[in-house]
């Protein structure tokens, strides 16, 4: 033990704060060190000297005065509200957890464990249910479960559901839409078939417009334009399509067949009577002009020339009717 450490321990020993085993060690040092002995004597003298400034009990008057003043101050304080006490309790609980990190960690771990276990069991239940469904689907479609799961996104509709008796197994029949592409000539029957489907059912206005335009161009060009195929598609477009442009194209495509096909002529007459677009009705009149031997055309033209709201259409109709001898 060196003198510096001994002098520190002299102070702690003087105030009874040094452990017994260290006191013995200090005593051995002091027995052999005169300066430290002197140091000890001075520290003990200071202890005595400081007692000349004693601690005294406060006078009763001082206590009474302080107590009275405190009572007045406490009386002046507003009472604490119930929510203040509750928020204080809450803060204490949170602070307690902060000061007990092990407990907080254990609680966190227990919560996370319970959550993970619950999640695992829930996922297992769902996986078992999905596996059962996929097994049935695989048995009917002979596809691997993963492939079936991938193609389920392209299901167009579900056509039938049959539940197996006394089980959770069901047979689900569904229709699938598979995106494909084909390339070929406009004369190719498959291309034409697709164009007619597009003209009748396509949800896209652009695709619908393109398909009707192409079919009409084919008909006008004199390519194969079968009455039961493309012509039907064009007549449907002329009658029902919402787009005036599409109806215009369909009308143009039907032009070569007005004279020879009564169904086409009737479709054009309907357009003349009912179409909302004056341009299509005017075009329909011009298409009917060369038609011969059809009284229904004359009657329609006569009716339009007398009663149509559009003066231009009335004029055009009169012009056509003025050539009545040419129209049979």
């Amino acid at each position: 033990m060196n003198c510096e450490l001994a002098q520190e321990r002299i102070v702690t020993a003087a105030y009874s704060e040094l452990a017994d085993e260290l006191i013995h060690e200090l005593d051995r040092h002091l027995a052999a060190c005169a300066p430290c002995q002197s140091e000890r004597e001075q520290v003990l003298a200071l202890r005595l000297l400081a007692n000349a400034n004693p601690v005294v009990d406060p006078a009763p008057n001082l206590v009474a005065r302080a107590r009275l003043r405190l009572d007045e101050a406490l009386d002046a304080l507003p009472p604490r509200r119930w929510y203040e006490r509750w928020s204080q309790k809450l803060k204490n609980n949170v602070a307690g957890l902060q000061r007990a990190p092990v407990v907080a960690l254990l609680l966190l771990a227990a919560g996370a464990g319970a959550g993970a276990l619950g999640g695992y069991q829930f996922a297992q239940g769902r996986a078992a249910h999905a596996a059962a469904t996929q097994t049935v689907a695989a048995s009917t479609t002979t596809e691997q479960p993963s492939a079936a799961a991938a193609t389920l996104a392209n299901v167009a509709s579900v056509s039938a559901i049959v539940r197996q008796p006394n089980s959770e197994i069901v047979d689900v029949s569904y229709n699938q839409v598979v995106p494909r592409q084909i390339r070929g000539s406009l004369d190719d029957p498959q291309i034409r078939q697709l164009l007619m489907v597009a003209a009748e059912n396509s949800a896209s206005a652009g695709v619908h417009d393109d398909s009707v335009g192409l079919l009409a161009a084919e008909c006008r060009a004199g390519h194969s334009c079968q009455p039961s195929g493309i012509r039907d598609a064009l007549m449907t477009a002329l009658r029902h399509d919402k787009s005036a442009a599409v109806r215009q194209k369909a009308l143009e495509g039907l032009e070569p067949y007005v004279a020879q096909d009564v169904r086409v002529r009737n479709a054009v007459l309907e357009a003349l009577l009912n179409d909302s677009d004056p341009r299509i009705r005017t075009a329909a009149i011009s298409l009917l002009a060369p038609v011969e031997a059809d009284t229904s055309v004359r009657q329609v033209l006569y009716s339009v020339s007398n009663s149509d709201d559009n003066p231009q259409i009335r004029n055009v109709s009169r012009q056509v009717l003025s050539r009545v001898p040419e129209i049979q």
């Binding site: 003298a45 005595l48 000297l49 400034n53």
Partner: protein, 247 residues
Amino acid sequence: MATDALSLSTPAVAPDGALGWPARRKVQSSAGMAASRAMGGSNRETAGQAQERLQAREVENDLIREAQAGSRSAFDALVRQYEHQVLRLALHLTGSEHDAEDIYQEAFLKAYRYIGNFRFECSFYTWIYRIVTNLCLDQLRRRKTRREDHAVVLDRAGDEIDLLAAVSDNRSFSNPARELDRKVLAGKIQEALAKLTPRERMVFELKHYQGLRLRTIGEMLSTTEETAKNTLFRATKKLRAQLAEMR
């Protein structure tokens, strides 16, 4: 000069141990505690005291809980329990009844306001002392800043009061001449104490005059026992240097 009678170079303390250490009151090594436990009589006495202390602690804890729930009477009971100790510490530290009264007032108002924060991690005694010591430290720092020197104790009206007159002096050397010397000496000690830093002053006060353990002092001042010990060492060294001039 009369103060020579208490020269630092002449220890006037009667040695308690082989080399004159004061009697040990509170601190015991683990070996010492084991030896104490081995002694049947003292062990029974200690167990009884411990039982009483636990019961008192339980009663106090009940009061604290009631005060936390908003009971004013429970808080008043706690005030009655500690007010003398609070005033004694504040009065001795500040040397002014006025300041002591202010510290008393502010300490118990703070205790009332924040008693909800008390979480029974330490004794209420430590908790209220922590509040009081912080207020006293603030007061001492303000006084240091103002460079005031309160060598005498003032009452509320500003008049000097004789603290020493209130202390009975049973020492063998007590006589009128010595009494005068002692008063002069007390003034010198107060001057020396006033020259310590507020923290050194506080540690010396709590250790020497209030007799608290260094561990408790560390808790009250929000520091470690080791730091409190080092601060006490510095304080005694400074005081000795100050008072050595009296020789």
